[in-house]
C-alpha cells in the first residue's frame, strides 16, 4: 500500500450531504475484475452527460479543481454499498484525503486499505475548510498525518483524531494481511479452542 505522510494540495468542495457510493462510482463500472483505471469514472453520472461530455458545472471539471488531491465533503460521505471501487476510483483520480463531519463505516475502513486518509472534523471546522476549498487553486490545504493536523490556506490549524493502529499502517504503507499472518499462532489456537466449544460451526 502507498504510504500517506503529508499532503499539500488543492481541495475540491462537495457540500452535498449523503454522497453515496453509487454516486462515487456507479454500478456499470463495478463489472471490472481489476482495481485500477476507475478514476476517469469517478462521480461519473454527475461528471458527464449521457453522451460522455463533461458537465462544466461539476466541481472536478472546473479548471481549478482538475488536479485536486483533497475532497471537502458534506456529512455522511460514502454511505451505501460496500464497493471498494469507490476508494479505488478516488485514489485513481488522484485524491488522497477526504474531509467531512462523518463517514459511512465501510467506506471509512476501505479508505485506510488504499492509502487514503479520511478525516473527521467538527462541522464548524469542516465549514471553514469548505470555504477555503471554494477559493480554488489559490487556497492550498495542508494535511499532516504524523501530527494529526489540517492547516487551512490562512494558516488556521485543526487537530483530528485517528486510530493509532491505522495511522501507523498508513504512515508505513503496511500490508494488513502480512501483519495478521504474523499472528497465525493465535488464530490456530483460537480455531482449536472453537472446534471444542462450538463444534457445529
Amino acid at each position: 500500500m502507498e504510504k500517506f505522510e503529508k499532503l499539500t494540495g488543492v481541495a475540491a468542495p462537495m457540500p452535498l450531504v449523503n454522497i453515496d457510493t453509487d454516486m462515487i462510482i456507479p454500478k456499470v463500472f463495478l463489472k471490472t475484475i481489476k482495481r485500477s483505471g476507475l478514476g476517469v469514472n469517478l462521480f461519473d453520472e454527475m461528471r458527464y452527460d449521457r453522451q460522455g461530455n463533461e458537465i462544466p458545472d461539476f466541481v472536478l471539471n472546473k479548471p481549478q479543481y482538475r488536479e485536486a488531491e483533497i475532497l471537502v465533503a458534506g456529512d455522511n460521505f460514502g454511505c451505501g454499498s460496500s464497493r471498494e471501487h469507490a476508494p479505488w476510483a478516488i485514489k485513481d483520480f488522484g485524491i488522497r484525503c477526504v474531509i467531512s463531519t462523518s463517514f459511512a463505516d465501510i467506506f471509512y475502513n476501505n479508505c485506510f486499505k488504499n492509502g487514503i486518509l479520511p478525516i473527521v472534523l467538527p462541522e464548524e471546522q469542516r465549514d471553514i475548510l469548505m470555504k477555503d476549498a471554494e477559493k480554488g487553486s489559490n487556497a492550498r490545504i495542508e494535511v499532516d498525518l504524523e501530527s494529526q493536523t489540517v492547516t487551512s490556506s490562512d494558516g488556521e490549524v485543526f487537530h483530528f483524531e485517528v486510530d493509532p493502529f491505522r495511522k501507523h499502517c498508513l504512515l508505513e504503507g503496511l500490508d494488513d494481511i502480512g501483519l495478521t499472518l504474523e499472528k497465525s499462532a493465535s488464530i490456530d489456537a483460537f480455531e482449536a479452542q472453537a472446534a471444542q466449544s462450538r463444534p457445529w460451526v
Partner: protein, 467 residues
C-alpha cells in the same frame, strides 16, 4: 461477571487476538462471497501465493450480474457480466469453496441463500463483501459488510482487524397495526435516526413488535440496519429462530444441535447491560411508509405530502431541493397521488417467501394497471419453487406480473433489469439513491404489500384501503 449485551457476547466469543490498543483479530465463522466484490481479492491471493484458510466456511453465489430471464441457461450475453460470473466459477473451483452456480436451483441472492441453507446460525460472525450482510443479524449473528481488501484478508486469515462498536438498542414496543410490516418498521427507524444515526454502533432490535415478526420479517429489519449507518443489526435468537433453522441442510444435527441450543439460549442482552444509546418507538405510531427522495431517510407515511426543502436544516436543505427535482415531485403534493410506471418485488430486503405471500394476498383476483411494468424476482430458486407450489406464481402472472428467475435484479440494476430515464418505480428494495435502479430512474421504497397495491392502482397507495 459484568452484564453484557448480545453484541458483547458474540464479540467476546470471537476475539482471536487483542493488541494493547484494543485492536482485535475477530475470527470469522462464515464468509459469503459474490461475483462483484471478490475477483480482485482472489487475484490478490494468487499474486501473493496465499490460499483460502478455511474453504469449508466460505460460500459463494453469483447474484448481482445474473440475468433473471429463463434464457439465462444459454449463458450471459453481457460480456463484462459473463467474465465476472466466470471468474467466480473459476475461483470457487480453484480454491475449493462451497458454490451455488447459476444452474443450481438453490442459486439466488447470497443473503437469502445463506440462511435458507442453514449456513447462518446464532452467535456466529458472518461477513461478505456486500453491505446488506446485515441481513444475517436476524439470527443473532454478528454480520456485516466488508470491502474487497477485507474479503482478501478474511480469505487469507479467516479473521478481520476490528475495533469494537458501541451498543444501540432500538425497541419497538407493542403491536403493529394491520397493514404495517417489517419494511415499515425498518424504514421508520431510519426516518427517525437518519442514514448516519447508526454510525459507530451495532443495533439490537427488540420489543414485542420485533418478537412477533417471522424470520423473514426480522431479516428485512436487519437488512436495512446499514441504511441507518450501523455496522450491524441484531435480533436475539428465540423459538422462532430455532424453528426456522432446524433441519436446514447445514444446521447442526443430533448431539451437535443440542450443544448448539445450549449456547444459543444464552444469546440475549442481560437486563442491566450498558447501552450507549436507546431508541424506543411505539409500534402503533408506525404507518405504512414510502420514500419520496433519494436517501432512505427521506421517508414518510403514505398519508403525508412531499415536504418543502426549507423545512429542513443545514446541508439537508440543498440535498432535499436536489432530491425533489431529481424525483420530479412538487412540495405539498400528496404522496398517494404519485403515479408510477414500474413495480419491482424482490431483493435481499423483500425477496423471501413471506414477502411474496404478502404481495400475492393483495393481488389475488386483481389486475395491474394498464401499461404498467411489474416484475417479481424471487430471492432464490427455492423461494421461486415454493411460491409456484403455493400458487403464488399464478396469482402474480394472472395479475400481469412477470415471473422471473432469482437474483439481485433491479435492486441495483447491474443486470439488464433497469429503469429508463425518468421512469418511476415502487420498489421493495433498499436504496433509492440517484441512478440506483437505472440512469435517472426514480425509486420509491415500499413494503411488498404496498408495492402490490401500487401495481393495481398505478400510483403510490395505502394498502389498508385494499384490505
Amino acid at each position: 461477571m459484568s452484564p453484557k449485551t448480545l453484541y458483547d457476547k458474540i464479540w467476546d466469543a470471537h476475539v482471536a487476538h487483542e493488541a494493547e490498543d484494543g485492536t482485535c483479530l475477530l475470527y470469522i465463522d462464515r464468509h459469503l462471497v459474490h461475483e462483484v466484490t471478490s475477483p480482485q481479492a482472489f487475484e490478490g491471493l494468487r499474486m501473493s501465493g496465499r490460499t483460502v484458510r478455511a474453504p469449508d466456511k466460505t460460500i459463494a453465489v453469483p447474484d448481482h450480474n445474473v440475468p433473471t430471464t429463463a434464457d439465462r441457461v444459454n449463458g450471459i450475453t453481457n460480456e463484462e457480466s459473463r467474465i465476472q460470473v466466470d471468474a467466480l466459477d473459476t475461483n470457487a473451483k480453484e480454491f475449493g469453496i462451497h458454490y451455488y452456480p447459476v444452474s443450481d436451483v438453490r442459486q439466488g441472492i447470497v443473503h437469502i441463500v445463506g440462511p435458507e441453507q442453514g449456513w447462518t446460525l446464532p452467535g456466529m460472525t458472518v461477513v461478505c463483501g456486500d453491505s446488506h450482510t446485515a441481513t444475517h443479524g436476524a439470527f443473532g449473528s454478528l454480520a456485516h459488510g466488508i470491502g474487497t481488501s477485507e474479503v482478501e484478508h478474511v480469505l487469507a486469515t479467516q479473521t478481520l482487524i476490528q475495533k469494537k462498536s458501541k451498543n444501540m438498542k432500538v425497541e419497538i414496543t407493542g403491536k403493529l397495526k394491520p397493514g404495517v410490516t417489517a419494511k415499515d418498521i425498518t424504514l421508520s427507524v431510519i426516518g427517525r435516526t437518519g442514514t448516519a444515526g447508526g454510525t459507530g454502533y451495532v443495533i439490537e432490535y427488540c420489543g414485542e413488535a420485533i418478537r412477533d415478526l417471522s424470520m423473514e420479517g426480522r431479516m428485512t429489519v436487519c437488512n436495512m440496519a446499514i441504511e441507518g449507518g450501523a455496522r450491524a443489526g441484531l435480533i436475539a435468537p428465540d423459538e422462532t429462530t430455532f424453528e426456522y433453522i432446524k433441519g436446514r441442510p447445514h444446521a447442526p444435527k443430533g448431539a451437535q444441535w443440542e450443544a448448539a441450543m445450549d449456547w444459543w439460549k444464552t444469546l440475549y442482552s442481560d437486563d442491566d447491560a450498558h447501552w450507549d444509546l436507546v431508541i424506543t418507538i411505539p409500534a402503533e405510531e408506525i404507518e405504512p411508509v414510502v420514500t419520496w427522495g433519494t436517501s432512505p431517510e427521506d421517508v414518510l407515511p403514505i398519508s403525508a405530502t412531499v415536504p418543502a426543502p426549507d423545512s429542513f436544516k443545514g446541508g439537508k436543505v440543498d440535498a432535499v431541493r436536489r432530491a425533489i427535482e431529481y424525483m420530479g415531485l412538487t412540495p405539498g403534493q400528496k404522496l398517494s397521488d404519485i403515479e408510477i410506471d414500474t413495480v419491482f418485488i424482490g431483493s435481499c430486503t423483500n425477496g423471501r417467501i413471506e414477502d411474496l405471500r404478502a404481495a400475492a394476498a393483495v393481488l389475488k383476483g386483481k389486475k395491474i394497471k394498464d401499461g404498467l411494468r411489474a416484475m417479481v424476482v424471487p430471492g432464490s430458486g427455492l423461494v421461486r419453487a415454493q411460491a409456484e407450489e403455493e400458487g403464488l406464481a399464478d396469482i402474480f402472472q394472472e395479475a400481469g406480473f412477470e415471473w422471473r428467475m432469482a437474483g439481485c435484479s433491479m435492486c441495483l440494476a447491474m443486470n439488464p433489469d433497469q429503469l429508463s430515464e425518468g421512469e418511476r418505480c415502487a420498489s421493495t428494495s433498499n436504496r433509492n439513491f440517484e441512478g440506483r435502479q437505472g440512469y435517472k430512474g426514480r425509486t420509491h421504497l415500499v413494503s411488498p404489500a404496498m408495492a402490490a397495491a401500487a401495481a393495481v392502482t398505478g400510483k403510490l397507495t395505502d394498502v389498508r384501503e385494499m384490505m
